[in-house]
Amino acid sequence: MIEVKNLTKHYGEVVAIHEVSFKADKGQILGFLGPNGAGKTTTMRIICGYMPATSGTVLVEGLDVFTHSLAARRRIGYLPETPPLYPEMRVASYLSFVARLRDVPRASLDDALNRVVRVCGLEAVAQRICGQLSKGYRQRVGLAQALIHDPPVLVLDEPTIGLDPRQIHEVRELIRGLAADRTIVLSTHILPEVSQICDRVVIISQGRVVLEESLAALPAGKSLEEIFLEAISGEGHRSANEEALEQVDAGRS
């Protein structure tokens, strides 16, 4: 379970996200949508404990990612926007390094390795050097490292980017299969992807949540694209940046 409450992050005077709240339950896939620069990556990084929020809290499986950071991080598998591969390492030794870093016991290391290699279809490249892999394989190795410690929570930043259509289909199937006993948050630009695999959708625009709805409850007769464009055009919503600038001006005068 992931619970994000009133999350705000400032980079200096720039407001990246403002009062973002949403919730994803076990067994759910939450699609995190938004235009570029809306704050998706920032939110995901905060959930994973990469950096703390300016204010607000994130609970992962009931653990605060700031105060119980290590315990929370142990329960998260995170695939960043660029797969975090060491270009000089071989795939198998990279994955076993990540496994040990994430406290997979030595005895079950081989099992964990074999499982993710099979699940992510990496048999052919297990002994290849990460830096020489194609974009699709890099993405899959990235997914494998997020799964290696069998975490109850998965945070995937654009998991299907750079894959060919067949691979996209495979990865979607894979994510659906993983969802049964996990909580998954994934960000994407691809709207059909959301309607195909997600149970809930959160649309974020200029740092604010503009829509949070279960997919079934979305108005019928409207395509997701229409809903998305409507939500981000945001009538009545001022951007977080504008508001922050106003606050700064008010502070000065």
Binding site: Y50, R73, Y78, M89, L101
Partner: protein, 257 residues
């Protein structure tokens, strides 16, 4: 601690699948060989001259430790000033550039453990290089009669110096995403610590004492003479400690920006 060792193991593995480590090691050992050869030839020449002159008093003063081992250690220390930045520059800068930093900082690992892991790996590499250069000391011991204690003290000094350099290198690497900037600023800092006592004679008494205390060769020199003074150990160890502490703070602070 386990996490630090996991990271250290991975780092060492990475060193040896890339050419940098081999090049650094080869350069270090080649130069060490050249220094040894030239110092020993000079020693031999002086010895021959004194023997021809039947100068017994001078012959008694001719000493392998002061004429070969100590100058060689000083030369190697300078080589380390140049080579250690090349080893440590990648440590954090490269991780930030390739995005693997996100993996490390979101893994259930403390920042201190990341720093410790990187330190252990780089320190092991540098110490390994110094141990290999010890082959010349072994040759001297086999064919000559140097004082083993003095040599050991000198090598201990060189090892501590190398470890200090690694600490400074990790710190500069943690400040930037650019390896070249990391290497050059480390090199600059180390060279400054090397020459910091140069204006000491012209300065007032208090400044002189401070500059002398900060100067690396002041402390190292005593160790090459066989003098292990707790003041020198304290200086070198606290330099490592401060460098690692600053590195940890610098990595941690990156989260807060």
């Amino acid at each position: 601690m386990k996490n630090a060792l996991v990271i250290a193991g991975k780092e060492l593995q990475s060193y040896f699948v890339q050419p940098v480590a081999y090049v650094v090691m080869a350069v270090f050992l080649l130069l060490a060989g050249w220094f040894f050869f030239s110092l020993l030839s000079r020693f031999d020449q002086i010895l021959q001259i004194y023997i021809m002159m039947h100068n017994v008093q001078a012959l008694e003063r001719v000493n392998l430790n002061t004429m070969v081992v100590a100058p060689m250690l000083h030369d190697l220390a300078i080589v380390l000033v140049i080579l250690v930045p090349a080893i440590t520059m990648r440590a954090f800068a490269e991780e930030k550039r390739t995005g693997t930093y996100e993996l490390l900082l979101t893994a259930p690992v403390r920042t201190g453990e990341v720093v410790a892991g990187k330190f252990i790996a780089a320190a092991c590499f540098v110490l390994g290089m110094i141990v290999l250069s010890g082959v010349y000391a072994v040759i001297l011991a086999l064919y000559g009669n140097p004082e083993a204690g003095v040599m050991a003290s000198g090598y201990l000094g060189l090892g501590l110096l190398g470890v200090c350099f690694v600490g400074v290198g990790l710190f500069t690497s943690s400040l930037t995403t650019n390896q070249i900037i990391a290497a050059i600023s480390c090199f600059g800092a180390l060279l400054l610590l090397y020459v910091i006592s140069w204006p000491a004679e012209a300065a007032g008494a208090a400044t002189t004492a401070v500059l002398r205390y900060l100067s690396l060769p002041e402390h190292f020199d005593r160790m090459t003479q066989g003098l292990i003074d707790s003041r020198d150990l304290v200086y070198l160890l606290s330099l490592v400690g401060v460098a690692l502490f600053l590195t940890q703070r610098s990595v941690e602070s990156a989260r807060w920006r």
